[in-house]
Each structure stands twice: as C-alpha cells, then as structure tokens.
C-alpha cells in the first residue's frame, strides 16, 4: 500500500513524574496504522492502554519518541493545534457515550461541525449521518437521556463521523451495553470499516476484539506478540 499511514508510533515512551518516583506507562512503543484498518488494542488493567489511547487521541504528547497523525508530527504542536487535529482528524467514541445532555440529538451530532465552521450549520448532514448509523428520524429532536444506551452510542458514532475523520478512536464502545445491543454496534462499526473508515478500538473483551482485523496486545507499557 503506497498510501501514507494514518498513524505512526515510533519508539514512544510516556513517563509520568510522581512524587514517589517516575512511572513509565509506555516504554518504546512502535506501530503503524494504515488507512482502512480495523485494529483492536487489548491488554490487562494497568498495561498502558489508556495512556496509549490518550496519545493516539492527541490528548497528550509523548515524553520521548514520535507520533505522526496523517503525516503530521504531534510532539511539537501547541494546544490549539492539537485541539484542531482532534476536531478534524479524529472521531472519539466513549464507553459511556458522553453526549451533551443540554443539546438534542441533531445538535449533539453537528457539534463538531459547528466547532469547525464557527457558525450555524445545515442540520441535513447531521440527519444523513444519523440515518447512516440507523437511528430513527423521530429521535432526532430528542435529548440524549430520552434514548436507550444503544441509540445513544449510535448518536455518539454519528458525532464522531460528522467531520469525516481519518481515524475513529473507540474506548470500550460496547462496555456499557448489553451483548445484543453491543453486537449491533459492532456490526455497525464493521460496516463503517468496510466502507473505508479506519478504526482503532481499545477493549478488554476478546469477543469484541474478534470484530477487528488486527489486534495489538500491550502489557507493562510494551507491545507484546
């Protein structure tokens, strides 16, 4: 594949300085994610999954090593640049959906669009994306609390997709759903991946990891085979 990888980690280390002594959360991690991949990241608690997720989501920068998102090195970026990168290149899906309770479904979905355009946006694109994640039209004007967990997660996926990101970053996307609803969400994500969306999913559930085409296992801050 000649296309540029959407994400590259090159010998990334993350050290947290604590009063009791430095804690190395990631130790020389290197990998790359190509466009269109569906990757799951697995590892036990305390293995460094969350740190890895924060770095992949540009919420944090590495202590040493390089991270490239669509060819852009994030290590020297300002907070404003990192924020713009998150807004334009990365779609976040959280375990607890994390929709905004004060906004209705359409407003939640179009929120990142408004951040990007800095003005009111046409809700039509929001509706189209919501339909693509199989949410009924009648729910569009509801507030998040009026929706079921599965419906809320579909809204969260629509919100993550609205700015056509390079990567969809998922943190235990089915962790707060029953197995049937979770399966429905994973089917949706599989469909999205088939249509070209690059997905990186952090999970501890091996059944959910089976939906991905590649698994990166991490233990004690290192990638293990």
């Amino acid at each position: 594949m000649n296309e540029q990888p959407v994400m590259v980690f090159r010998d990334v280390t993350k050290v947290y300085p604590l009063p009791a002594g430095d804690v190395t959360a990631l130790d020389g991690v290197s990998f790359q994610v190509d466009r269109g991949e569906f990757i799951s990241i697995m590892g036990p608690s305390g293995s460094g999954k969350s740190t890895l997720l924060n770095l992949m989501g540009c919420l944090d920068i590495p202590t040493t090593g390089d991270i490239f998102i669509s060819g852009t090195r994030i290590g020297d970026m300002s907070d404003i640049e990192l924020t713009n990168l998150r807004r334009d290149r990365i779609g976040f899906i959280f375990q607890y959906f994390n929709l905004f309770p004060l906004l209705n479904i359409i407003e939640n979905v179009t929120f990142p669009m408004m951040l990007k355009s800095q003005k009111a946006v046409d809700p039509q694109k929001g509706k189209d994306v919501l339909r693509s994640v199989q949410l009924e039209d009648s729910l569009f004007t509801h507030t998040p609390t009026e929706l079921s967990g599965g419906q809320q997660q579909r809204v969260a996926i629509a919100r993550a997709l609205i700015n056509n990101p390079d990567i969809l970053l998922c943190d235990e996307p089915t962790g707060n759903l029953d197995s049937k609803t979770g399966a429905g969400i994973m089917d949706l994500m599989t469909d999205l991946n088939r249509n070209g969306t690059t997905i990186i999913m952090v999970t501890h559930d091996p059944h959910i990891a089976e939906y991905s085409r590649r698994t990166i296992r991490i233990a004690d801050g290192r990638i293990v085979l």
Binding site: T83, N84, F94, F100, L102, K116, Q118, A160
Partner: protein
Amino acid sequence: MIFWEIAKRNIRINVLRSSLAMLGIVIGVVAIASMGILGNSLVASVADSLSSVGDSVIVTPYSGGGMRGFGSTGSAVNLKITDQNFQQIKRVAAPNIAIPVYQTSEHMKIGVGSDDIVAIIYGLPSDDVPDLLKIKEGVYNNGNTGCLIGPTFAKDHNLKVGSRISIGTDGDKGTLRVTGIIEERGMSFDISTDSALVVTKEWFENTYNRNADYDQVVVKVKDGDTAGVKIAIENQLNKRKDEKIVNVMDSKATLATIYSTFGMVTTFVTAIGGISMIVAGVSIFNVMMMSVTERIKEIGIMRSIGTQKKEVMSMFIYEAAIIGVVGSTIGGVMSIMAGYAISALVLNTTKHLFTIANALSVAEGMGFGIVICLACGFYPAWRAANLNPIEALRHE
C-alpha cells in the same frame, strides 16, 4: 453560536440557582442606583431651593470669626458696616454694583383685627432693587409708603398688590401698601425675601432712625469673578492683621462647597450600596464555580472532540453575562421605582427623578452589576478552560 445556546440552557435548567444569583445582582444594582438617585435628587432639591446666588459677594460686619448663616440678622449683634466702609467696597468692587442692605425683624398686622406677626424687613436703595430682585406681579416700589413682599409671605397672608400692612406693634411705624410681589428666590446667601418685606432705604432710615450703618452689602458680580472681588474687598478692608472689619463670603465658592459636600454624601451612600454588589459578586462566583464543577466531565468531552479553551471559557462567560445583564436590567427598572419611592418619602417630591444624573446613576449601577458578574465569572471560566482534558474525562 452553540456555546451561547448551551449557556442559556444551563441557566434555564438551573433556574432556581441562577435566579438567586440574579437576585443578588438585582439587590446590588437597586442599592447603588437608588442611593445615587436619592443623592442626586437631594442635590437637585437643594439647588432648587437655593436661588441664583452664584454671582454675589456678601459683605457683613466682622463678628469675631465664622460666617453668618442664611438670612441671619446682622443687626441683632449690633455690628454694622459704616458708610465709609461701604464706599470703599463700592470703589473696590466697581464696575460691579454694591448694594447696601438694611435689615430688621418687625411686628406687623395685616388688616384690622388680624393677629400680630413678625417678619423681616429689608431696606434697599430703590435704584438697586431691580438688580437684586425680580418681581412677578405689580411694579417696583419707588415711593416711601410702598413695599415689595415675598411670594411666600403673600401666599401665607393672602396679600395682593394693593394690600396694606401695618408696621409695628400697634401700627406705630405706619402703613405700607404692597406695590409688587417678588419672584421666588429660595434660600439665599444674601437676602431671603420669600417671606419678607422690602422697603426703600429712605423709609427704613426714617422709621428706624438709621443713618448709613448697613447690616450687609451685596455685590452683584457681572463677570463671574466672585473670588477676585472677594479678595479685593478683603485686601482693602481687612488690611490690618489684628483688626478685621468685615466678613466676605463668595457665594459661588460657598455653593461649590455645598454641592461638593452633597456629592461626597452621594458617593458615600453609593459606596455603601456597592458593598451589597460585592456580596452579590461572591454569590455569582460561587454559582459559576458550582457550574464548572458539575460539568467537568462535559468540559472534558468538549475538549477531547476539538473544543478550544477559549470556546469553553466563552460558554461560562456567557453564562455570567446573562445573569449580569438580566439581573442588572431588572435591578435598573426596580431602582427607578425605588428611587421614585425614596424621593417621594424623603424629599416629598419626585420632580427631580428623571434627570441625566439619575439616568447615569442607574447606568452606573447596571454597569457595575454586569462588570461584577463578568469579573466573578472569569476565574471559574478560566479554570474550566484550563482543565486537563484527560482528567476531566475521567471525572465522575
């Protein structure tokens, strides 16, 4: 913009908390603005009752220090300005007009069988009266048996032009016919004619056996340099350090001192009102901190999906601004009502309510309310914007 909408909705959803914060601002604005209105109305009311005396220099016999009060009787202490002194004053004050004034209290009767009353009688040179007094009815008095009367005196005793007044305990000092009624002058530093009679200098001298020993001299300063005239008179008459002859009062400076004193009183009471605004500010700060603490997770989500710090900050600033603007507007309206009530109760008049000074007081109160809200919302907003998005996302 979406952050404005979120701010509005957050206020709506926490309506009780937001209303209480607004109430603090309302009280603060009402306290500041209504105190300002009261002070301004007080000044306007005093200014209204003081006649246009800002162009006079009043010379009275030296009475051992201090100035005489309004309308006090110089003759009571038997100190007079001699004709020689008057001539000196006249010369120094030229080309301004120096008017010698006689003054006494006298018993009098209005009509047959009426009660004996006491009023002040001023004796002025007929030619100078038009320079000092304006009449609203009748004509100036040139004859020896005529007099001018003040409007309050005329009203109180139901007198008209042509009415007659018996002077003296038993009318022993003759009868005067009212030739004109003087325009209202209000309180004055020179002569207070509203409740008094004004007679000719000659009648006064003949009746009271006076001869060029005046109770005071009023200099009408045409070019406004009352301070210059005052200094000139003092330099001429109070040359000797060990013997002062006259007290000289610059009415313009005295007026300025009075206004300045009232201004200070207004500032003081407004500052007391400002304390309640500070308390309101603390309440706003508390509400905004609560709002931030409750929404830490939401802030984390916003930041993670690409919201800039300044946008998070704007959301909370909008919230503080809405509380400030709504609270201050309600406070502004209520302060006009409060100002109306206070003016009516304290000053017995509301005619000074709708003035530029009062509008400024209301605007000042409202502006202070909005500024306090924004200032007290700034730190919580800054704190929200600078939360670590990773920690904020983990917040439960």
